[in-house]
């Protein structure tokens, strides 16, 4: 049970700044995910927490104790690596037992804990296998068991699923989530897959260029992105440039000729003029009344179709429609689109920051 606090952390690689100034609080038993595009510094940050990277500024503390100078072997961490990093000459059970051996746990107790750990990742039947004789998914299960069996204060995982195929990834992330939940270990998880992050995390920190863009629950991040980067990185969105006007104390934007919609409650009263309105595809639907548009094309995706259409202003908009037996959304068809107002977010066109009241960057 450990709280992690990162304060004004700074990381440089040979003079090149990778993380300029980063602060985060990770709660007890929380499943916390670092999410961001490639090269944004997720691995760098995780390895700083693990103790494998030097720290050029700021502090890392576990439960209020600064651990900057504590070597990794003494931080009581469990680590799961992208390439599994199982010891190739040891069986699954020996791998899992390694950390217990270094902690001088008596033989009998160790054996019981190894068995339990392998059980929890459903690998009890393969304890005698060498890593070379296991599939990727099985190896990653063993790696997870090996990290958990020592009952670490903190569990660190760097893209543990990225070497697995799509179906196994979904299965494994459920195992990880479940095992973490049962053990209640504070977990820092790194991924660049936003869907995976949404599925497993209690809270997510979205990073870009070494800077945290937003911290929040998956729903908060999706529904109330703090800035344009987050809106575009998490899920899909349509960005439309519009004028924001105030009328009778209500903020409205004109979405199409003669169609104005209200932007509810969240807009800072000081805002007006040019803004960018972010419209999620699922907020758009075909209706009897609404913004006129012309269908450009339709992509069949199984349960849904993805439709691209052009607005009168010339802007492109993408939305989802339930698949139907025979599609009526042929290219060139004219239709009207309704836009759900409570799912809109509005950004300052220059800074990209959300102009929603209370949203913090």
């Amino acid at each position: 049970m450990t709280r992690i606090a990162l304060q004004s952390l700074r990381k440089e690689y040979a003079g090149q700044v990778a993380i300029p100034d980063l602060s985060l609080e990770i709660g007890d038993g929380e499943f916390f995910t670092l999410l961001g595009p490639s090269g944004c510094g997720k691995t760098t940050l995780l390895r700083m927490i693990a103790g494998f990277n030097s720290i050029e500024g700021g502090t890392i503390s576990f439960d209020g104790t600064v651990i900057n100078d504590r070597p990794p072997a003494e931080r009581n961490i469990g680590m799961v690596f992208q390439n599994y990093a199982l010891f190739p000459q040891m069986t699954a059970a020996k791998n899992v037992g390694f950390g217990l051996q270094t902690r001088r746990i008596p033989r009998a107790e160790a054996d019981a804990r190894i068995a339990r750990a392998l059980e929890s990742v459903r690998m009890a039947h393969l304890g005698d296998r060498l890593p070379g004789q296991m599939s990727g998914g099985q190896q990653q299960r063993v790696a997870l068991a090996r990290a958990l069996v020592i009952e670490p204060a903190v569990l660190l995982m760097d893209e543990p699923l990225s070497n697995l195929d799509a179906k196994l990834r979904v299965e494994m992330r459920e195992t990880i989530r479940q095992v973490q939940h049962e053990a209640g270990i504070t977990t820092v998880y790194v991924t660049h897959d936003q869907e995976e992050a949404m599925a497993v995390s209690d809270r997510i920190a979205v990073m870009n260029l070494g800077v945290v863009q937003q911290v929040g629950t998956p729903a908060e991040i999706y529904r109330r992105p703090a800035n344009r980067f987050v809106a575009e990185f998490i899920g899909k969105t349509n960005l439309l440039e519009r004028d924001l006007r105030w009328q009778d104390g209500r903020a409205t934007v004109e979405m199409g000729p003669g169609v104005s919609i209200d932007v509810t409650g969240l807009v800072d009263p000081a805002t007006q003029g040019r803004v960018q309105v972010s419209v999620r595809p699922e907020a758009v639907s075909v209706a009897a009344e609404g913004v006129p548009a012309e269908v450009l094309d339709e992509t069949f995706l199984g349960s849904h179709s993805q439709v691209r259409a052009r607005l009168a202003s010339g802007e492109m908009i993408e939305f989802l429609e339930f698949s139907q037996q025979s599609s009526s959304l042929k290219p060139g068809v004219q239709l009207r689109l309704a836009i759900e107002t409570h799912q809109l977010t509005v950004f300052d066109p220059d800074s990209g920051a959300s102009v929603a009241r209370g949203a913090s960057a």
Binding site: A50, G51, F52, N53, S54, I55, N68, D69, P71, P72, A73, E74, R75, N76, I77, G78, M79, F81, Q82, N83, A85, L86, F87, P88, Q89, M90, F98, G99, T102, R103, A143, R146, A147, I150, L156
Partner: protein
């Protein structure tokens, strides 16, 4: 792995200790040679160099050496390239056996080749006498042509092994891509494959070059009037031409400068051309038909026979009767029985000295490769460079350095067991370090980090995780080193006494003394030892690629 807030940790002290060892046992001896080359009786002088360049008798050996070396390198490449091309592209029956035989011929003691060609084509050789019987003068094995033949046969397998390693990294899709653009056959070999293999070819050529340039046994045994520079160093150092050690040291320095220059040129070229490849799909050999098939087989088998015949000749000769050292009619075990006591002594020495050197070698190689791969820094950078020093210094000169440096206080080691062990370990270290480093580089750092994250200390991580997972690779590297240690001649030539003489030194002295029977018997034992070691290597190495 910085940021742990600790000044000098255990690894740093190991790095310091090894660096100090290198400075004392490798660099210092070479410095004494350097000092010797520019001083005489304590006074500075350039007489050694002046003498060398004043007489054709001396500087001629340098041109001779260069001539031999260039010719051998070119010839070895010309022979080895088609050999590796055929073995990769075409289905050859007994492919694996052929590769093993080629490896065996490479691993056989270098000077045994020369010796056995003397048995065949020497003044009193089997072929020579047979041809003389029907009134034909056979070509002489002595001199330039003989050296060329023996060294080329000796070194083709080396470059062949390198090339085969490179072929294995060529993905078949590259060849298919070339073919789809209409480039096939020899054109494809030249345009697509050659550039891919070039770094390897250059690396391999340098190795051949350095070996040919530094080779002492072959020109000593069959050079006769055609003297190369190592022979000159040897004879001036042992005083045969009654010139002092100042001269020998000067010649040694010239040799070092030449090899060093070559090494730097090669490094410059290779560094700029290296690219990493891994074959997802290695090349699938195709079945040839008709005369092409016959041609390919003829080529491969001709080479095999030429490379292996000498070994066979030695083995057969060891069972012939001898009279005053020369072979006579009839077969028996006479050569073995008459030198029984020598054999016991030499074999015992070979094992005790060789194994001690091997243990020293492997321990240092593992530590150094770990340090240079995982603990990059100024000190390990220096260490990395230091370990390559013996690579560019011929064995003979390492021997001279050791004997000059350690025949005087503070440390007198001449004539000891220790100096033999040291010399052999130093000689082989650059090779073993390189192969261990290659292993270390493939070893994912996250495995080590996993161990540390589980709370393992550094020594524990090394002993329980890193070494066991690298063990198969280290072991096969060790067997290869063992083979080169027991066949090494030139490094220990100045260092042995009767109680530290090894098999290869024994063979050399017997040949020089004209005791052909004993020499053949000893050579057969050494060959047997080599072959058994190689079989062991096949066992432990499994399907692994063999690196030299």
């Amino acid at each position: 792995m910085k940021g742990q807030g600790r000044g000098i940790d255990g690894w740093m002290s190991i790095a310091l200790a090894i660096t100090a060892g290198y400075l004392f046992f490798v660099v210092w001896p070479l410095v004494t040679v350097l000092i010797n080359s520019v001083t005489k009786n304590g006074a500075p002088t350039l007489d050694g160099f002046r003498t060398f360049f004043s007489s054709k008798l001396y500087y001629g050996t340098l041109t001779n050496s260069l001539l031999v070396t260039v010719c051998v390198t070119v010839l070895a490449l010309l022979v080895a390239f088609p050999l590796s091309y055929f073995m990769t592209m075409f289905r050859i029956r007994g492919n694996r056996a052929i590769q093993i035989l080629i490896l065996a011929s490479m691993m056989s003691p270098p000077f045994i080749g020369a010796y056995s060609w003397i048995l065949l084509l020497g003044n009193n050789g089997i072929v020579t006498r047979g041809l003389r019987g029907v009134g034909i003068d056979s070509p002489s094995i002595y001199g330039f042509a003989g050296i060329l033949l023996v060294l080329t046969l000796q070194l083709v397998p080396l470059i062949f092994t390198y090339l085969m390693g490179a072929w294995r990294t060529v993905d078949v899709s590259l060849l298919e891509a070339a073919e789809s653009m209409g480039v096939t056959g020899w054109k494809r070999a030249l345009k697509v494959i050659t550039p891919l293999l070039l770094p390897t070819v250059l690396g391999g050529s340098l190795l051949v070059f350095v070996r040919a340039f530094a080779d002492f046994g072959t020109p000593m045994l069959i050079g006769q009037g055609f003297r190369t520079i190592p022979v000159l160093i040897y004879s001036s150092f042992v005083g045969e031409v009654s010139i002092d050690s100042n001269f020998a040291a000067a010649v040694a320095m010239i040799v070092v400068v030449v090899t060093l220059a070559l090494f730097l040129v090669q490094k410059f070229i290779v560094d700029r051309r290296t690219f990493s490849m891994t074959a997802m799909r290695p090349i699938e050999p195709v079945q040839l038909r008709g005369w092409r098939n016959w041609g390919v087989y003829a080529y491969i088998y001709t080479f095999l026979i030429l490379a292996l015949a000498p070994l066979l000749v030695v083995v057969v000769s060891s069972f012939r009767n001898t009279l005053y050292g020369q072979f006579t009619h009839g077969f028996s075990l006479q050569s073995y029985f008459s030198s029984q006591r020598d054999i016991t002594r030499l074999v015992t020495n070979t094992f005790t000295i060789g194994l001690s050197a091997l243990v020293l070698l492997v321990v240092i190689a593992v530590l150094v490769s770990y340090l240079t791969v995982r603990r990059r820094g100024l000190l390990t950078g220096v260490l990395d460079t230091l370990t390559m020093v013996p690579y560019v210094v011929p064995g003979l000169i390492i021997g001279i350095g050791l004997i000059t440096a350690f025949s005087q206080p503070p440390l007198v080691l001449t004539g000891t067991f220790a100096i033999m062990v040291l010399a052999l370990a130093i000689r082989r270290l650059p090779y073993t370090i390189r192969s261990t480093t290659a292993l270390m580089l493939q070893f994912s750092p996250s495995i080590e980090e996993a161990a540390i994250s589980l709370g393992a200390s550094k020594p524990r991580t090394l002993l329980q995780v890193i070494i066991p997972s690298l063990a198969p690779g280290i072991l096969s590297g060790a067997v290869l080193s063992w083979v080169t240690i027991i066949t090494e001649l030139s490094t220990t030539l100045f260092l042995y006494t009767i109680s530290t003489q090894t098999l290869s030194l024994g063979i050399y002295t017997q040949v020089i003394r004209g005791q052909m029977g004993t020499a053949a018997a000893l050579a057969t034992i050494l060959l047997g030892l080599t072959m058994v070691s190689l079989m062991l290597l096949m066992r432990v190495g499994g399907g692994r690629e063999i690196r030299v």
